[in-house]
Amino acid sequence: MKHSRAFWLFVGPFAVGLLVFVYVPIGWSLLLSFFDARNTVTPTEFVGLGNYADMLTDGPFLQSLGTFSVFAAFIVPLTFVLALALALLVNQISFMQAFFRSVFFLPTACSYVVASLVWKLSIFNGVRFGLANTVLGWFGAEPVAWTVSTSPPWYWLVLVTLRLWLQLGFYMILFIAGLQRIPQHLYEAAWIDGASRGWQTLRYITLPQLRTTSVAVLLLLLVAAYQAFDEFYNVLGTDRGYPPFARPPLIYLYYTALGSGGQDFGHGSAGAMILTLLIAGVTLVQGKVITR
């Protein structure tokens, strides 16, 4: 097919941007992953799969992959169920629906950095006048150092509530869009056949009809879980680096490749490739299992 001039006018700049800022860096990163590339992006010392072997035997990196697989196993179903529940509720109500939709969607527009700082500095700071500690104080409890204490690991509470607040609205909108595409006559037919309004229609009509949306949401959630960076970096990172717990793979790679005191692009790139393969693999398996 011959594309018109207008096609290239509109698509061209975007395609060039994609090529220059996405595909070239990916290719370059792949290349770097086979070299000893310390403090240089034009390395000369080829090391083959050495960087990959190092990363696959590197304790902290494997640990971060492990931690975030567990994190994904929790956060993906949790966000999924809550977003779906929210969407069903908002879709049900007959008054001020647009208002509620906007209210729940609004946090999506908030910057991760700003939200992280609000969570870290005002809601969950460790001093007695922090919001969460003030509430605890009403019940006579001692202040809790939310982002510091590792036993119990309260920092998960901070990070998970933050992530839910930021993301729920977006996935809710996806589900609402899916819900509104379900033809009304299906429900009507079901009611005539005697299906009850609650669980039965949800189980036999709504959920099956939402399958495509669900697969998309799960996929996005999974990728987002492995790509965690912003709120973790801003809540738990300090000027002394990042603690060894709840360290997302991307943060570990960020410190490896760009940390002060040694830019190791070879190992960083190898880690990024491993992570990419992992995300692609898990996504494919998930897609297969769900659409079967």
Binding site: G12, G59, N125, V127, T150, R240, P243, Y255, D264
Partner: protein, 409 residues
């Protein structure tokens, strides 16, 4: 055939891309030397460095002020051809090994002996000096005299006394000590090693591969689990807010905080080095200094050298102004540090003494990010999770050993 319009739109796209990528503050080739600073927090520093640059007669100098993540920006720019000619930084052996820096031994001349030796050592790698120290920063322990008097506690001179003091000073809404929101592992890891007479790295060998290290780091765990630490403060250890607001009796922070503390508390505070663990150990203060360095990719290395020599070695009046007129630093040159009036009494004078007698490099050039991550992870696990210090430090030592082997063979 390419139509004119298509050519134009392609041209516009390239120009757009070029505009995105090349904002390096370059004043045009062959004209001005490009000099980079990170954004100092104190008002007046930017105007001061611009004034110095203007006063240089030989070649024009463009000063670029870099707010935000200076380290990453600098490191990235050093990989490209668009970096500065002259810049400030701390020294990392990785930059030396990558050939990014120009040795500066020859610009010092007779002035070399006037620089504090420990500071100069922080800018030396593989036997060569790569930076001319500009200003010395150091960390120390601030304590509230009135709180100590009230509780009848003496300023601590050993680590055990420090833990004991922190415990006894924890009453009601006041905690004993604030040493960072990570529970002290980040800033006190080094001082804990030094308190036992150990170090990060010593003569290209692991400096903490010793059973005593576990004891030293174990003390940080004791401190953490004593309930006497303030955790999760709004501002971290580098800001004295927790101390000046009376939330703590002691805080680990830096010399830079002295003006703010003085303003808030007047004379009601004292300063101490990190105490020693045992008879074999030493009291210590971590020091660091930004130094002026020259980019090996610069096309005008000789001119840059001459400028650095003029600004940071010959013009002692500027060094004095830079160190003492805005924030609160110690001039790296002994002759200047001695005559500075701000540093002859009170906390300033104490700090000069600590630096003279107990200085330890907070981030030595051969302490790479791999080593730092391994050590900090170990300390964090010991301090916060109560992991076994012996095992954790041994694992970290093995990693540091590998990295040292890579560096020095």
């Amino acid at each position: 055939m390419i139509s004119r319009r298509r050519l134009l739109s392609a041209g516009a796209a390239t120009m757009l891309l070029a505009a995105c990528g090349s904002n390096t503050g370059r004043g045009g080739d062959g004209q001005a030397l490009r000099q980079w600073y990170h954004a100092y927090g104190e008002p007046g520093v930017q105007q001061a460095v611009e004034r110095y640059a203007k006063a240089y007669g030989k070649v024009p100098v463009d000063v670029q002020w870099n707010p935000g993540d200076y380290d990453s920006k600098l490191a990235t720019s050093l990989l490209s051809d668009g970096g500065p000619d002259v810049f400030e930084s701390t020294l990392q052996i990785s930059s030396v090994r990558a050939g990014q820096l120009v040795p500066l031994d020859d610009v010092f001349g007779d002035a070399k002996s006037d620089f504090t030796a420990s500071i100069l050592a922080g800018h030396t790698a593989d036997g060569k000096i790569y930076g001319v120290p500009q200003a010395v920063d150091m960390q120390m322990l601030f304590y509230r005299k009135s709180f100590f008097a009230q509780a009848g506690v003496q300023p601590p001179s050993t680590v055990d006394e420090l833990i004991d003091a922190a415990r006894r000073l924890t009453t009601g809404g006041v905690k004993g000590l604030f040493a960072g929101n990570d529970g002290g592992g980040g800033v006190l890891g080094g001082p804990a090693l030094w308190s036992a007479g150990l170090d990060y790295v010593r003569d290209h060998q692991v400096g903490f591969d010793d059973p005593v290290a576990a004891q030293a780091i174990g003390k940080l765990r004791e401190l953490y689990s004593s309930g006497a630490l303030l955790l999760g403060a709004v501002k971290d250890w580098a800001e004295p807010d927790a101390f000046t607001q009376g939330l703590v009796a002691m805080q680990w922070t830096g010399l830079w905080a002295v003006p703010a503390v003085q303003k808030a508390l007047g004379d009601d505070f004292g300063v101490l080095p990190f105490p020693k663990l045992n008879a074999g150990g030493k009291t210590s203060v971590p020091v660091g200094a930004f130094g002026a360095m020259i980019n090996a990719k610069s096309k005008r290395i000789d001119e840059a050298k001459e400028f650095v020599k003029w600004l940071w070695i010959e013009r002692t009046d500027y060094q004095e102004d830079f160190n003492l007129s805005y924030g609160f630093h110690i001039p790296p040159r002994k002759s200047l540090a001695e005559k500075a009036t701000k540093l002859t009494s009170g906390a300033g004078a104490e700090a000069v003494k600590f630096v003279r007698d107990n200085a330890k490099a907070s981030n030595p050039p051969d302490w790479t990010s791999v080593m730092r991550t391994a050590f900090n992870d170990a300390v964090s696990r010991v301090v916060r999770d109560g992991a076994k210090a012996d095992d954790e430090l041994k694992a970290a030592a093995a990693k540091v050993k590998d990295e040292l082997k890579r560096l020095y063979g």
